[in-house]
């Protein structure tokens, strides 16, 4: 492999990239906007606890309204309550037993089931126990012996409550990488569209040099931007080496996808059309990064799921390298699939 030829091509592509107003502006403005968005999002959480309650056979009326710092929402069925907690609309749901009053009358212990959403912090659980006892007092007017039974709804991610701006980080990372998919695909597609590739391939340059240069440029552009973003927002504080490795593999993944898009598109419009379709699909798992537990298992077939899950668990839930190595392997696997398919298709088109 001739490094001089590859560097010459990379320099040429950087010149063309900097002169493509659309992608250049989109890249720079996008990066600045994502960083700005991160810093304008609230860093703190709402201190009021939103509580869903299911109290069959008991009229709570306005008796719970007096509890300080708690917004209580009664539910008419247990399924509705569990669904709301699972979707994280309510971090905590409390279901009182139907025979609560009988148990109180006979002096027996009553079992109260407490449902926590996956992202409810551990420290909140102690407060909830005290709150339930307080609630029972408000309802019955006396101290009653209660047994707490807890259940986590949705994936249990250690229960760390995450500020919204941090939940958006995986989504922003995917958006930054996604922009580079389009830029790279456009650079490759334009080379074919304007037939400049033929002029290159009658020189000592070979197709392998050309594709290597495009791949290195794509990985480099994506990686530098996403690392810059993560550095500015302080996303490299926990296990920085693991994060950088994950972002690097993610950059390879999107570069492979860029090759695939370029091989499918016949012109700039094609790049935009195919790029947007794949971009939307790739964006779906980002919703799961924002609201844990909302996505079904089918989202795992989307390759970006593993990148978003990687960034989300590492930056927001303190996951370690060993816990995330599976994600890295799957991302590398998808990168190989996209890269090989795209390269083969491009070889056919360049010839």
């Amino acid at each position: 492999m001739n490094a001089r030829l590859i560097l010459t091509l990379i320099k040429k592509d950087l010149t063309l990239f900097s002169r493509n107003q659309f992608y250049f502006v989109m890249t720079i403005v996008g990066l600045v906007l994502y960083i700005a968005l991160y810093f304008v999002m609230p860093q703190t959480l709402d201190e009021n606890i939103k509580l869903g309650v299911y109290t069959p056979g008991i009229q709570t009326g306005s008796s719970l309204a007096g509890i300080q710092g708690v917004e209580v929402q009664p539910f008419t069925s247990l399924d509705e309550l569990k669904d709301a907690v699972k979707k994280n609309e309510y971090p905590v749901g409390i279901a009182l037993p139907e025979d609560l009053l009988n148990k109180i009358a006979t002096g027996e212990q009553a079992v109260v089931t407490v449902y926590y959403s996956a992202s409810t912090p551990d420290e909140m659980k102690g407060a909830i126990n005290a709150l339930i006892n307080q609630m029972a007092y408000f309802i019955t007017g006396q101290d009653i012996p209660l047994v707490m039974q807890t259940e986590i709804l949705g994936p249990d991610l250690l229960g760390t409550q995450i500020p919204w701006r941090d939940r958006l980080v995986p989504m922003m990372a995917v958006l930054i990488l996604g922009t580079e998919i389009l830029s790279l695909a456009s650079l490759i597609s334009t080379e074919i569209e304007q037939d400049t590739v033929r002029a290159l391939l009658v020189t000592p340059l070979k197709l392998r040099h050309l594709l290597s240069a495009k791949a290195l440029l794509g990985i480099g552009l994506a990686f530098i931007q996403v690392v810059l973003f993560m550095t500015v927002i302080g996303g490299l504080t926990h296990e920085p080496a693991t994060m950088i490795l994950g972002l690097f593999v993610g950059s390879i993944l999107v570069t492979g996808l860029g090759f695939l898009i370029a091989s499918m598109a016949h012109d700039s419009m094609g790049v935009t059309s195919w790029g947007m379709i794949l971009f939307i699909v790739f964006f779906i798992p980002a919703i799961g990064g924002m609201v844990p537990g909302i996505l079904s298992d089918w989202a795992k077939v989307i390759p970006s799921y593993y990148l978003i899950d990687f960034v989300s668990r590492l930056s927001n839930y303190g996951a370690t390298f060993s816990e995330l190595s599976g994600n890295l392997m799957i991302m590398l696997g998808w990168s190989a699939v996209f890269g090989v398919t795209g390269t083969l298709a491009l070889r056919r088109r360049y010839r």
Binding site: R4, L5, T8, K12, T15, L16, R19, N20, Q194, D195, T196, R198, A199, L200, L201, V202, T203, P204, L205, K206
Partner: protein, 287 residues
Amino acid sequence: MKQDAIVVENLSYHYGKILAVDNISFHVGKQEILGFLGPNGAGKSTTVKILTGQLRLQEGRVSLLGMDISKELEKVQARIGVCFEQPNLYEQMTALENLQLFARLFNIKNFDGYALLKKVGLDGREKDRVANYSKGMKQRLMVARAFVNQAEILFLDEPTSGLDPVSADSIRNLILQERERGATIFLTTHDMWEADKLCNRVAFLNQGKIAALDTPHTLKQQYGQRSLLVEISHDGQLEERIITLDKSETPDKVRELLSHEKVVTVHSQEATLEDIFLKVTGRRLTV
């Protein structure tokens, strides 16, 4: 004995079931300009693509500068220059940047892009983006790009296409200068006048086969007829008469015209390459 710069033996090429080039053989000597003529679809582009390594060799043997292109393509490509018919330049780069890029690909040290651009008449516009160039300027830049590596063989595909007469003439002069420098030139053109003036030999390609290959002069002698075009004034109207030369009755016909008619002009004329192409292949060169 001078070694041939281009040797093609029994070259054939198929696109699926379509035979584009049908067992052609020819050679081009060093410092020779060979005109490759033929209508669209005759197999010209396919031949050029094979010779320049854009298409893989399927059948036959091609040797450029003594190297087999199926074995030493990379070395061959370092020593050839190609000018494509359609502009395929980096439009968002300047003319100078375009040339410098190719100079780096050919690993040329101390490349003087300004001098080359001056040579093709683009001085003063070196730092303009190619997107702002006219068609003629782009064509001149394409020619300049083919000259970047001081190639030993130049493949020029319609290099004067779309140029005004002055620009076309300057490109023709450059081609002749390149030959003087020592380059061998493989010229594809539709312009018969250009082929006649520039080429040492011309090859007529028709349906994938070489129908004729020789010097323009020999082809004209072999296939064409010399004649006189005589304009006479008859009742105030101009009429044209053609008298074929090299025949026994020619002197009598000329004498008769001069003594009995009011002759306005007399021009000698010979067959054009276009006429010869039609005679040899039964097809017109330009459709």
